[in-house]
Amino acid sequence: SGELYCSLLNPRNVRFESINMKNVLHWSAPEGTGNGVLYKVKYSIYGVGKWIRKPECRNINRTWCDLSSETSDYEEQYYASVKAFLNGMFSDWVETTRFNPLTDTKIDPPMVSVSSTEKSISIILTAPEKWKRSPEEESVSLLQVYPGLQYNVSVLNKKTKKRWFFSISNHTLIVPRLEPGTAYCVSAQIHVTTPLLDSGFSKEHCIATLKDK
């Protein structure tokens, strides 16, 4: 006689969301299910045989699971998979597409600090750090991960509304021949040529050049 079992609809939209290589698996609950659905997660390294369970994401009712630690080697690529269960029913395992931390992460804007003299502005840019397991762990700048990393810098004269754009590889920029006693606003973006990755622009940092003595 046929074996009767009820299956649950599958979790949907299973994917990695990654910022500065903090790699978090996200999904949506199976359609039509309210509360009470639980999930378990596993992951695998592409090219290596086995699936590995993530104990901290077993029997969870949230719809995300942080796999940053398990996917921190960005020379590898990964798959992850989620299964839902409710009242003895369970779904299929639903997989992500192949995840490449190097090309599939998003990058935060750089940190911007500015100072001024009478006729110039000095800008110092700092690239964000790669995600790390703990504050004690050694920091790795994304500059080390992406050797081709550059900065696009925008400088706006608040009085004349004139804007300049600079594209630099160095992390400092001095903008000379400015008007004394004038407010300028600076914003910067990270641009990686290969793989092609762009951060958003940072929020504006405004500063006034010193008045003429």
């Binding site: 690529q77 290969t194 793989p195």
Partner: protein, 139 residues
């Protein structure tokens, strides 16, 4: 150029990788990662790999999707031009092949021949970002 290859691949990556159901087998990255190759052997491995893709892979990568096919042929053309430049290095003896690169390339061919030709070609094409990441990192 490599940037053109990267852009072309990014446009079809999800499509191509979805055609490769085999998670447990990699052509380029296992059992030994390209990233473990000594710097002295990089030019030779790169030259071998461009030959491998031009001579073995692209011709077996036909799909039913004309857009994907166009992208594949433009990637193949970019490979041809980069291979030409690599060939010049090879002729000027700037691309010496050590034992390690010979062993590594043998492993890649063995991985490739471990699958039927269509699966192997599609898998190799889906691993282009592994090749590009390694090339750019080791520049």
């Amino acid at each position: 150029s490599v940037a053109e290859i990267r852009a072309g691949f990014a446009a079809i990556k999800a499509n191509i990788q979805a055609r490769d159901p085999i998670r447990t087998h990699s052509i380029l990255s296992h059992p030994r990662s390209l990233h473990k190759v000594k710097s002295s052997d990089r030019c030779c491995i790169t030259h071998h790999l461009f030959d491998f893709y031009v001579d073995k892979v692209f011709k077996h990568c036909k799909t039913e999707d004309s857009y994907v096919n166009r992208k594949i042929s433009s990637i193949a053309n970019s490979f041809l031009s980069v291979r030409r430049k690599l060939g010049q290095c090879h002729e000027q003896n700037q691309c010496m092949c050590g034992q390690e690169s010979t062993e590594k390339f043998k492993q890649i061919l063995a991985n490739y021949e471990g699958l039927n030709v269509t699966s192997a070609a599609m898998k190799s094409l889906g691993e282009l970002d592994i090749l590009l990441d390694w090339m750019e990192k080791s520049r």
